[in-house]
Structures are given as C-alpha cells and as structure tokens.
C-alpha cells in the first residue's frame, strides 16, 4: 500500500488565555467538524505533535490531501478555551525536522 503523504504545520496561538493542549485540539477538531462535517474531519488524520504552552506554539500533523481543509478551519477559529483567539500558520513542511528549521529561520 502506498504511504500516505503528510504535512506538519507550525502554529502560533494568539490569545490572552493559556489554553491547554486538550482545549487546543478540541478547538481545531470543532472548527474542522463545523465547516466540513464529520466525514471531512475523518479524512484529515489530524494529530497534535508538539505543544509549547509557554511560547503558545503548536505543531500538528495532517494528510497532504486535506491540508487546505485544515488551513481553512484553523483560520476560522475565533475562540479558544472561552477566550477570543486566533491561530496563525507559521510554517508548513513535510518533516518535523525541516519544520523546526523553517521556524528557526
């Protein structure tokens, strides 16, 4: 079977509060489900790879084919853990290593 291609997205959380990883993941799933439904969400293979509460940064993994869906859903997030928030995409890459390289640049 052909290996499914993935993309890693580095995200910056812009919020006054300090959401927990659980709250963050719930907000992302909720945004994807709201816009694309449960079927659409099931195609994304979303997973949280890394979460830095101090820097308010997160790394998520998604299937390459559904990256546009995930980007759109991330842009539609306006609340995180009950507080106004925005999630900005900092970098996108095919491997975690190169993603961290891009962020450091």
């Amino acid at each position: 079977m052909k290996r499914a291609k993935r993309r890693y997205l580095a995200l910056q959380i812009d919020s006054d509060g300090a959401p927990t990883p659980r709250e963050f993941v719930d907000a992302v799933w909720s945004a994807v489900t709201k816009l694309y439904g449960e079927y659409g969400a099931s195609l994304t293979n979303l997973a949280l790879v890394d979460y830095n509460a101090e820097k308010k940064m997160a790394v998520i993994r998604t299937a390459l084919a559904t990256m546009d869906i995930v980007r759109t859903a991330l842009s539609s997030i306006t609340f995180l853990a009950g507080k106004e928030a925005a999630v900005h995409v900092l970098a996108v890459s095919g491997t975690v290593k190169s993603l961290y390289g891009k962020i450091r640049q």
């Binding site: 546009d68 980007r71 759109t72 991330l74 842009s75 539609s76 928030a85 900005h88 995409v89």
Partner: protein, 244 residues
C-alpha cells in the same frame, strides 16, 4: 516577485489611538503592506494626518476610504460628487436595488458592498455584474461575517457568496477580499484570508489576486487620478512652464 498584500477594510477608531496603533502594527506583522481605513465623511484633516503618522511609524501604506450608505440614487450621486476627490477609496453599501444599480454603473465607485446578514439585500446578480463590468467597480467581500456567524446564517452567507463570486468571474468583475474587522484577534494573515475564500469557491490564484493585485490597482488608479498632474485617463501633465 513577492506579492504585496492589502486589506482595504480595516475598521479603526481614531479616537482611541492606542488601539488603532496596535491594530495597524498587527496588520504589518501579519504581512500587509497596504491598508484602507474607513473614515467618516466629515473627517478633520488633523485626524487623517494622525492616521498617516501611525501608519508611517508602523511602516505600512494607508489609503483613506469612505463608506457611503445612500438611500436613493440621487443621494448616491450627490455624495459621490461631494466625497470622491477627498478619499482614495469609495465604497457603496448597497441597501436597495436602485442604489446598487446606480453604484454599479458609476465610474466613481470603487467597491460594492452588500449586507452580510440580510440576504434579501444582496443585489449582486447578473444584471448588477454586467453594469459593474462596464465601470470600474469591484465586488468587496468582508471575511469578518464568515468568522463571527455560525450555523444557518453562515451557511446562507456562504451560499450567497458562492453564487456572487461565480457571477463576478463570469462577467470579469474584480473581487476584493477584505477583513472588515475592528479587533486584533479577528485579523488574519493574507494567506489565511485566501484559505477562507475557498469556502465559497474561489481558487487560490483568484483569492491571492483578490487580496493583492485587485485592491492595490484600485488605490494606484485613484492616487493617479487625485494627483494634481492628472488631466484625463491616459493624459497627465509631465512638464509645465514656458519652455514646453
């Protein structure tokens, strides 16, 4: 060539200069190079200077914009006559069909905006697009309602926007995607705005054009027209004096 992104609808209150400054700095940080700020028609010159100063500090270009909400087509032409030469961007909020049609055919109108929530007042149909294609008006789409609305209201808005963008593309009416926000947390990066436009069927190339070339060309064209050297479209003063 690197794209230069523009947001032609950043709602600021100049009375609260700290918030305005924060929002403008945020827009710069997110990657915008040009913003247009709606100002009341009776804006004093010192307020405009203050806005220019804040934007200069933030290293972002600013275009003064006016939003007019005329009740009748006579009111529209009267307001355009009064305001056109004072502002670089003129947007007409079309509250009824008579105004929408007149705005679409008037060369002084830059942007056509329709109410996001009242779907019966979205008059951008084929007739409107045909008129707009012969003038210079562009269809403005604010992203803010897509972020704040939920459920059936958002579904209906997306449906309207999908229909309108298809019509606009058919008649070659330029589309301008703006944020329409007044708070920092609702401000999105240009590519995030482009991603949101995929919800109503705009492809990536058209979406990027709607947040870069299309708004920039409106501002460039109007700056040329408002320049003292402008005579008529295609004609401008190059040199003045006895030796000409």
């Amino acid at each position: 060539m690197k794209r230069s992104f523009a947001d032609l609808h950043l709602r600021l209150s100049l009375k609260d200069s700290a918030t305005a400054s924060r929002l403008i700095n945020k827009a710069t940080a997110l990657g915008y190079r040009l913003i247009a700020v709606p100002l009341p028609p009776e804006t004093r010159e010192d307020e405009e200077v203050k806005l220019q100063r804040i934007c200069k500090e933030a290293k972002i270009d600013v275009a003064p914009r006016v939003d007019i909400k005329p009740k009748t087509h006579e009111d529209l032409t009267h307001q355009l006559r009064r305001l056109r030469r004072k502002f670089e961007v003129v947007c007409v909020s079309c509250e009824n069909k008579e105004v929408a049609r007149q705005a679409a055919k008037d060369h002084r109108v830059d942007l056509l905006n329709f109410p996001a929530v009242d779907f019966r007042k979205r008059f951008f149909d084929r007739a409107e697009a045909e008129l707009a294609s012969k003038s210079l008006a562009a269809l403005e789409i604010d992203v803010k309602p897509l972020l704040v609305l939920e459920g059936s209201a958002r579904v209906r808005l997306l449906s309207s926007l999908r229909r309108e963008t298809a019509i606009a593309r058919e008649f070659h009416v330029p589309i301008v995607v703006s944020s329409g926000v007044a708070t920092e947390t609702l401000l999105r990066k240009p590519r995030e705005l482009a991603a949101l436009t995929s919800l109503f069927g705009l492809d990536e190339t058209s979406a990027l054009r709607a947040i870069s070339q299309n708004p920039a060309s409106i501002v460039k064209r109007n700056r040329q027209k408002l320049s003292p050297k402008f005579v008529a479209p295609g004609i401008r003063v190059i040199k003045e004096g006895k030796d000409c």
